[in-house]
Symmetry: C2
Subunit: 452 residues, 2 copies
């Protein structure tokens, strides 16, 4: 066999193992611990990740040559990256825009309070642990970044995504994404003198300044001014929503007449990818925000069912399990060394500041105490956004490795605890079997099965 | 942005471009040249591949660091590899086993003649061009390897896969896969003295001999004896078919009761991956043969519709276009240099020996002249199997770069010509719109759309 065939077989085997472990863990967590499926899936990643079984170190998965050193881990992260985009795209399709508009003000307050509390308390606690102002503010900033994908998935499982609280959580998460980037721009501008080697927030400015070589964002580390970031975000959101509202329906109608199999889902995926790239590159926000916008507006065309039927099953059969596994896979608890106390404190701060911060924001905007608690619980997870921000800090030497490991543990802990919290605060009678969420698609297939 | 984010955005953009170019090319080829969609999709790969636009060389797709040197091309080939497995899995689901049994003898004769003719004439022509016996036999062996994925896709498009001829082509291709590997084992044993550095056919023998380190198949180049290859193939086919017949239905019924979203399609994908790895690693045959077997037997469970609905749309919206593009993407016509005459002769030999060889086999087994021509046309494509065999020859120094380039061109030419030939020999009235093949799934979605 050539090396290429070898790594290819290794990759197929790896994905088979990931699908198996993930589905089994999701099932066991649901069956015996009564947790949402996503809980087991994330823990499964931790189980076979570097902290415990370390699957990438197994002899069977050793690279055949240096060229393929990172082939398997890159491959998994590539599929995981698709997974989270598809997940947020589907959450967009499930989004009820009217409901979201109705809770817009509440979402705004929940997001603002949910950024200020973690930033303030995270910075204070880090200072108490003897860190410098720069590190402390950065760690505070890492604590602000909500990652809504876990909550979205859990709420879809509990069939509560479209509730008042569900829409508040999703709306607040988008606002949080915007606020988080603005704060990160501030922090990076603030810490720029000390760090900045090879990593930066600026993207579009580079393109304008340095041409194509700067697109890849490495050669010219320039931090955009905060006002430029805000401007770009504004332009992106207005443009993206305008194109989506006006353009999607006629475009998909045109595509539907093409001689090509499944052209409508194919072009929907294309739009999802382009908006994801556009969100991160031009809009300075997370790629999942772009995918989410596409989901919202494709859902409002007449192709809603066709697209959902085409994309949802494969997404949940393969991509999403890989994404949830990859969160656990990327955490190495062995790197923690002695920082357990700081890690524990940061985890508690991370959970409490979101629950009470976002909860207070929602409460002040008029939600009941119970509704506010639900919103707070849904904002706890830091997921992949927290990981990325922490990585940026490590790469630009704003934080050290010893400060990085506790942040990774914090991301993991908040991610694992979110489905547990959500299940606690949402009424159980609304909960359904894990596979009820398949209902949209299985309704007809089950009828057909009846023929057998 | 971190390097990881940069390549990730590059990859998303690349996949967006591939989906767009592929769907557009498929549409244009169908609309204006009246060719099957797959024809345009393969040519599109050639268009943006290294021969012409060379997409991987665009400044926007330059790797941010050495670690990511091969990230994009590896990523595309990973998805393409999934694509061809999924394609053959779906072809398996479309397979009518009774029909295939009825044409079994014809398929056997078509396969045997379709191996002997290219081997004999390919070797003779290479000798005429002044090559040594070793190279000549190897080139003859490369010409034997049919790749049925393009024919399967074209026939599905023309809605003729389940015809007498379609089943003969698929059956003959599986037999051809077996014969091709046996011949390759002979050839490699024959040429072993001269080459053999780092590449070999043996897989299981290594495992037995060298333990785990040998699984990855690099350290100990040993050619299996031909009888061992035949034995392993036999064991694989008996075992795979037995497990599939007896095990799939109860396994999927069990899985269907799991607390996990889309568990049945997920475990079907898992089986597809495991059988693909098993086919190549233990059975010594192509991975697609394993995927094809899974498709055949999953289709015979009560989950036929559920699985097909879950897997088919995403497969055709994304994976299959990437696979067809990747065939063109991997051909670099600039490497041809002066070998055009040899290339042209080899292409003609490759096409004629399959059309007349397989055709003669089918004719002698009792097919009419027209039916025989259809079988012959369906066996022309060499696709990815030819590429892999040629790569093995190049890597093991059995053939030189100057001999390799014409073989790549031959693979490309036979692949592109196959949908054209098939469309010529199959009656046009049976042909439907390209998207008719979606009918299975769109029947209901269109009903639902009617509600809008």
């Amino acid at each position: 066999m050539s090396h290429e065939q070898v790594v290819h077989l290794q990759f197929l085997l790896l994905i088979a193992i990931i699908i198996f472990v993930s589905k089994m863990a999701g099932h066991l967590g649901k069956q015996y611990l009564k947790q949402p499926v996503v809980f087991g899936e994330i823990l499964a990643g931790l189980l076979i990740g570097p902290s415990l079984l370390n699957i990438f170190g197994w002899p069977i998965f050793q690279p055949p040559s240096d060229e393929y050193q990172h082939f398997l881990s890159h491959g998994v992260h590539t599929l995981a990256g698709f997974g989270v985009l598809l997940l947020m795209f589907i959450a967009g399709m499930e989004t009820n825009l009217d409901q979201m508009r109705a809770v817009g003000k509440t979402a705004l307050w929940a997001a603002i309070a949910g950024v200020l509390f973690p930033l303030g308390l995270g910075t204070s606690v880090s200072l108490l642990f003897g860190m410098g102002m720069k590190e402390a503010v950065f760690i505070g900033a890492v604590l602000t970044a909500t990652s809504v994908s876990i909550s979205a998935q859990t709420l879809m499982e509990l069939r509560r995504l479209n509730s008042k609280e569900g829409m508040t959580i999703l709306g607040a998460a988008v606002i949080d994404d915007v606020l988080g980037i603005i704060i990160l721009s501030f922090v990076i501008a603030f810490t720029h003198a000390g760090g900045g080697s090879g990593v930066h927030v600026a993207k579009l400015s580079d393109l304008l300044a340095g041409g194509v070589s700067a697109f890849i964002g490495i050669q010219t580390p320039v931090a955009l001014s905060v006002s430029a970031v805000v401007l770009l975000m504004g332009v992106f959101f207005v443009l993206a929503v305008w194109v989506a509202m006006r353009g999607f329906a006629p475009l998909l109608a045109l595509v539907d007449r093409m001689h090509a199999s499944y052209a409508v889902p194919a072009f929907t995926l294309l739009l999802m990818l382009l908006f994801a790239v556009g969100a991160e590159y031009f809009g300075q926000v997370a790629a999942i925000t772009g995918a989410y916008i596409v989901g919202i507006f494709v859902a409002r065309t007449r192709y809603h069912d066709k697209v959902l039927h085409a994309i949802q099953p494969f997404t949940y059969a393969m991509f999403v399990p890989i994404f949830f596994m990859s969160i656990g896979l990327s955490a190495d608890l062995n790197a923690m060394q002695g920082a357990w106390v700081f890690a524990l404190v940061i985890i508690v701060v991370a959970i409490l500041t979101k629950v009470f911060g976002c909860g207070l924001g929602a409460f002040l905007a008029g939600f009941t105490r119970q509704e506010s608690a639900r919103v707070g619980a849904g904002m706890v997870s830091r997921g992949e956004v927290g990981l990325i921000v922490a990585q940026v800090g490590l790469a630009s030497a704003v934080i050290t490795k010893a400060e990085y490991a506790p942040l990774i543990l914090m991301v993991l802990a908040t991610t694992v605890v979110t489905p547990v919290l959500l299940r606690l605060v949402f009424p159980h009678e609304a909960e359904a079997e894990a596979d009820v969420y398949e209902s949209v698609v299985t309704v007809e297939t089950e009828e057909e099965e009846a023929k057998y």
